[in-house]
């Protein structure tokens, strides 16, 4: 990757968060070496301030029950310092507390 290039991280959202944002796929441009915490800060700045703190709560349209990064479960804020790579994909899985 050339110097000064940015990492592109794809974020997939579902359910009411997708409705709120009007799209199911978000793209974050991050500096090389950025971590998961930086990604959420970028999402909050670019898309919606609620990305700064996603509650595990189905009552919130920004509720998130699980985070899946490149197919593996990660957790926030415990893994906020996890380094990201160009092309990473994160899925924000909504709560299903009401049963289905």
């Amino acid at each position: 990757m050339p110097a000064g290039a940015t990492y592109r991280v794809i974020v997939h959202v579902y359910d009411r968060m997708r409705d709120s944002l009007g799209t199911g796929t978000l793209v974050a441009e991050l500096p090389p070496g950025a971590d998961l915490g930086k990604l959420f800060a970028e999402l909050a700045a670019r898309y919606d301030p609620r990305f700064a703190a996603l509650p595990n709560d189905e009552n919130s349209p920004f509720g998130v029950n699980a985070l899946v990064l490149n197919g593996r479960r990660v957790s926030m804020p415990r893994e906020a310092a996890l380094q990201l790579s160009d092309g990473d994909e994160l899925h924000l899985i909504p709560p299903i507390g009401g049963g289905a």
Binding site: H12, R16, E58, N59, R73, G97
Partner: protein, 562 residues
């Protein structure tokens, strides 16, 4: 008690019996219109004993009941049976069985409202064995209530409350189909007969989820007096799998016929829904047993000689549907599979590790490794493998029981959940026994139930009194299973679904469910023996169930902790 009343969702009815699938307490619950009509016909419930010497149906009208000849209906599918009976008895409602139940499939249920099915526990086979094709109800009696005006006022108030809730509005639009894909990608849904991972094995899950499914809805559907209205009527003019009208394929159906079979043909999922409804079969169990069969085929445990020439493949809608039809008819390989995964596995050598069932019943599309309290209740309750049995899975999944204060829980912390699991389960046992819907239980303030039960019955009602009623319901169910020789602690537990061995890929990688700790603490909080699940004598006496103490004394020596 609440069926036919002004409560929120006062329409649920339950079929109860000894389950031929599990050997223990069996029940299956359903919405629609039949339950309220039974009340309007003058009955709270129907007890059936014995076996008819020829096919019959029970006709109930205005306080009278009569068995009538059903010779002309035997062999007719469930949906057509219902339509014929409605033509014969205008303004009636019928609960019927399909031809799958006539052939005693242990995956069969009882159908009303053209495809809403009380599907679990094999209750259709119980009716089939009795040669009882249907129960037809007709009547106009009003439900007697202690204070009807108050009950109606309460209903209006809570409908207003729910109408302002965006979460409820969203559920009205989608119902359960909004998370078929996200559940596959997050780990909630089984994928590839519980051995796969959505993002790796079924990345096209969105093809069968959310708006892609909703696009086939041509009319909204609501059960009787339901203000949530999460249902819908669906159709597709697909050339290969046309469907003129079917109920919305719910999440469970979409997940087990889609994600679990790697099948992204949305038309085939609607067709599967219609086919199962017509045969009167449980889409959870049939989807599961097809996944088991494909797995067996892939691993060469069965071949085309065993499958009547069908080449079974993951994601192949044509072979999946061909197999489903054979199961409905009990033809060839369909006969091997028609009684569910456990019995099919007993007939296919070497298939034990592929057989995902709990105590004989196929689990629903919620993975214990994603929400361990789901796994606990699947393996601790008298009816195994049931996602509608309440527990702390609600909180583990980010949900709430509105109006009930509960502590926040960590999914993968296994200690300290017994009291919460027991409390939530007790409330569910009580409220569901009153005849209302789980989707309302998790979407309206709990005070709706206490206030309405009090208005309808005149009996002072509180969270505490409902908790105690729930304890009583749970103890009776458990004692029944134990008396019949079925001990939940000895259920077969499928390693694949509990992390034994742990899966190496996907979001559930490395998860091992500590079932023993969860179940022990749950039983202990219930006042049951933590090792065996036998209700303690003091507990039974405290609950006014002293009459079953003697039965429990008999079973205690026979129930060994695993």
């Amino acid at each position: 008690m609440l069926v036919g009343s002004p409560a929120i969702t006062p329409n649920r009815w339950t079929v109860v019996g000894k389950s031929p699938l599990t050997g223990g307490w069996g029940d299956a619950n359903c919405g629609g219109y039949w339950g309220p009509m039974l009340k309007a016909a003058g009955y709270d419930g129907v007890f059936l004993k014995g076996i008819a010497d020829r096919p019959v149906y029970l006709f109930i009208e205005d306080g009278t009941a009569e068995l009538r000849d059903a010779g002309d209906l035997w062999g007719v599918d469930a949906l057509d049976t219902e339509l014929q009976l409605r033509e014969r008895y205008p303004k009636s409602q019928s609960a019927v069985i399909g031809t799958g139940a006539e052939k005693l499939s242990l995956m069969s249920g009882v159908v009303n409202d053209e495809g809403r099915i009380a599907a679990r526990s094999g209750m259709g086979a119980v009716m089939g064995a009795k040669k009882l094709k249907a129960i037809v109800c007709r009547g106009t009696a009003a439900l007697p209530m202690h204070d009807a005006a108050r009950a109606n006022e309460i209903r209006k108030r809570y409908i207003r409350e729910m109408a302002g809730n965006p979460k409820v509005k969203y559920f009205t639009k989608y119902g359960t189909i909004n998370h078929t894909a996200s559940s596959a990608f997050g780990g909630d849904s089984p994928v590839r007969n519980w051995a796969g991972s959505g993002l790796e094995d079924f990345p096209s899950a969105e093809a069968i989820s959310d708006d892609n499914m909703l696009a086939h809805e041509y009319k909204k559907y609501a059960c009787w007096k339901c203000n949530i209205a999460c249902g819908g009527h669906y159709r597709t003019d697909d050339a290969q799998f046309p469907v003129g009208k079917t109920h919305k394929p719910e999440y469970e159906t979409s997940a087990l016929w889609g994600n679990n079979l790697l099948n992204d043909n949305i038309h085939s999922i609607m067709k599967a829904n219609d086919l199962c409804n017509r045969y009167g079969l449980d889409t959870i169990s049939v989807g599961s047993v097809i996944g088991f069969a494909i797995d067996c085929f892939e691993q060469s445990l069965i071949t085309r000689r065993d499958t009547d020439g069908i080449e079974l493949k993951w994601g192949d809608a044509a072979s999946i549907m061909a197999l489903a039809d054979k199961i409905g008819k009990r033809e060839g390989i369909g006969d091997v599979l028609a009684d569910g995964v456990m019995r099919a596995s007993q007939k296919i050598a070497g298939s034990e590790a592929l057989a995902v069932h709990i105590g004989g019943q196929e689990p629903p599309a919620h993975d214990p490794r994603y929400a361990p309290s789901w796994g606990m209740i699947y393996a601790a309750d008298a009816t195994p493998g049931r996602h509608t049995q309440m527990a702390a899975w609600v909180q583990e999944n980010g949900g709430t029981i509105p109006g009930i204060d509960t502590p926040s829980v960590e999914k993968y912390t296994y200690t300290g959940k017994g009291g919460l699991n027991a409390h939530i389960n007790n409330l569910g046992q009580a409220v569901f026994s009153a005849g209302v819907c789980m989707f309302a239980f998790t979407r309206v303030s709990f005070s709706e139930w206490t206030e309405t039960i009090e208005a309808v019955s005149g009996v002072p009602t509180s969270v505490e009194s409902l908790d105690e009623i729930g304890q009583r319901v749970a103890a009776i169910r458990q004692a029944f299973s134990l008396r019949e020789g079925i001990s939940p602690v000895n259920y077969h537990i499928p390693g694949r679904a509990y992390g034994d061995p742990p899966i190496e890929k996907g979001p559930l990688a490395g998860v091992v469910v500590d079932l023993d700790t969860l179940r022990r603490e749950f039983y202990e909080a219930r006042g049951w023996d933590p090792g065996s699940g036998v209700p303690n004598t003091e507990t039974l006496e405290r609950l006014g169930l002293g009459d079953i103490v003697a039965d429990m004394e008999v079973v205690k020596p026979a129930v060994a902790a695993p």
